[in-house]
Subunit: 356 residues, 2 copies
């Protein structure tokens, strides 16, 4: 494995005084991991350096053609002061699936997990400890060739930056209101939907904006072909408890395969719930709702962990779910996931990785 050179900052920043006001993703720690790719050399010069600006040629491809991928994960501080990562190898595996789709040279997944651990080790004091807070980790790769022409890049950068965060939604664990999007499409079969890449988020901005204007927290995307099948929410996968079944849209290329989604499915099944990954039409959901069979709905994602959905607006129809309150399955998943992540429950699944 390559050696990671470390240069520590001489000007450490002040850490946030009030951990209840962290918000999400606007404060960054003292250091970052950086590594370069150059054709012929492969990924080289892995290093941890003081957090600071990067210099780009104005023609750098990432500013024009969106050849960039990223990951999102967290480090958690346990009550006894240990730092834990949650299934980091899954994120690095997904990063490589995104790389593959975006014609970005693959990274060494095991090495990237080591880099992550080394960085988090150095930034350990930045992991906040207040209830629900954590250190958000953002590995990302972007193309830097100064070249105005659409071709896969030959020069790229890989960075990891860290941000102490609180709740992703101001609502916290309170149920959110979600708007079913009828006009805009985020991703379609054959496109980039399954990759964690800039394009999908760029495509979501306008719908998200219009939803917020109508006081909805995020949009629920429908498939781009028939505009009928439920896909995912802005930055979460979705689950519905319909009768005795827990349904989540199958992974068919247009949605992100969430690590939280995967973990929810595994936990639910270990508890004996029937979880089905399948196509779920919005009209089928509405029918179940009318029959009183839609008992719970929730989103799953690293940022919000579990986010109960209290209201779904589909055209003129409003579905009020579980009286706008958090349901038992959502609560149980939240308690268990956060329990494992923050080391409050035994990690029976072997999901956490301690940073020494």
């Amino acid at each position: 494995m390559q050696e990671i050179k470390v240069t520590l900052t001489k000007n450490p920043k002040k850490k946030p005084a009030d951990e209840s006001k962290l918000g999400f993703g606007s404060i960054f720690t003292d250091h970052m991991f950086v590594m370069n790719y150059d054709e012929g050399q492969g990924w080289h010069d892995p290093r941890i350096v003081p957090y600071g600006p990067i210099e780009l040629d104005p023609a750098a491809m990432c500013l024009h053609y969106g050849q960039e991928v990223f990951e999102g994960m967290k480090a958690y501080k346990t009550a006894d002061g240990r730092a834990l990562l949650f299934r980091p190898e899954k994120n690095m595996a997904r990063l490589n699936r995104s790389n593959e789709r975006l014609c970005i040279p693959l990274v060494d997944e095991a090495f990237c997990v080591e880099a992550l651990k080394k960085l988090v080790g150095i930034e350990k004091d930045w992991i906040p400890t207040a209830e629900g807070t954590s250190l958000y980790l953002r590995p990302f790769i972007f193309a830097v060739d100064p070249q105005v022409g659409v071709h896969p890049a030959k020069h790229l950068m890989f960075l990891i930056i860290c941000s102490p965060v609180g709740a992703y939604y101001p609502e916290g664990l309170n149920p959110v209101k979600i708007y079913v999007e009828k006009n805009y499409v985020r991703a379609v079969r054959g496109g980039l939907g399954f990759a964690k890449t800039a394009a999908n988020y760029a495509a979501s901005l306008k719908a998200q904006d219009e939803a917020e204007e109508q006081s909805y927290t995020q949009v629920l995307w429908l498939d781009g072909v028939e505009r009928r099948y439920i896909e995912e929410v802005g930055t979460m996968n979705v689950f519905f408890r319909i009768g005795d079944e827990i349904v989540t849209p199958a992974l068919q290329g247009s949605i992100l395969p969430g690590i939280t989604r995967m973990s929810c499915i595994e936990l639910l099944r270990s508890w004996g719930y029937q979880v089905t990954e399948r196509k779920l039409a919005i009209d089928e959901l509405y029918e179940a709702y009318q029959k009183g069979q839609l008992k719970e709905a929730f989103g799953s994602g690293t940022a919000a962990v579990i986010s109960p959905i209290g209201q779904l607006k589909w055209g003129d129809e409003i579905m009020m779910i579980n009286n706008g309150e958090i349901g038992e399955v959502s609560q149980k998943l939240y308690d268990n996931l956060t329990g494992i992540q923050w080391g409050k429950l035994p990690d029976t699944m072997g999901w956490t990785v301690e940073v020494k």
Copy 2:
């Protein structure tokens, strides 16, 4: 109108010695235009400064969420030494349509045309003069908020950079071989297809790569819903001469409304050709080909102007068009467009704008 502050370089670069070897988009001139947007202030501080690197926070949104748009246009040098732009107001209008879709604050189109003229005026000696060469102009906007969370940016940058270019395709005016893409999708109705934005190009990289591996120059995209209707080529719109009709896919949201496309349609109609903007299925095209009615095919775009298509591969079927030679309509369009652009023909359409 805001004043554009000019700071000239003290270290002018050497201009390319051999204009036959310019290639496309890898050489940049001495200066660039820059302007900033900050919430509350609007677009401000327009300036022309020496071409050089920009500093970005690693959390800058453009590196993660692809909130970025661009334009592509050219400045041409006439035989008597004048510098001409081609319908620049159309590019700035399209830029604003892209901005609107990407939640980017609109720019003042007339002011941007002035900025362009001022920059090209300063870089006039960089416009190459060899046959088929020009100065490619790349206006672009990207989000710079250091914020890891998916929201429209409050801080952005607008730049214009210039690159002396030769032919976009090594083939020049020789017919290119194009591959009909069956698996990957570039954009879908409801998505970003009509905007000139990073996402669409990121989505195209892999298909383009696979096409090149099979010795095809670019791919022809089919629609994302039925995967049947012809959309456009990598960086060009497409036209087909079928019997007495010239057909080009209608603008229905998923393809880029090319300025060259628009100009071709206007020229063809002014010459009395019947041009139809409509849905065109790939199987209809193949049928026409089999009946001997497919007489010509060509792509249109700023970079390549007119690029005749000599071969189209659709699954196992290969369509050889016009014996792999340039057709009469393609040639006539090329001659007239380049004639107007380089000032060799009278500009009867009023399309060129001289840079004084």
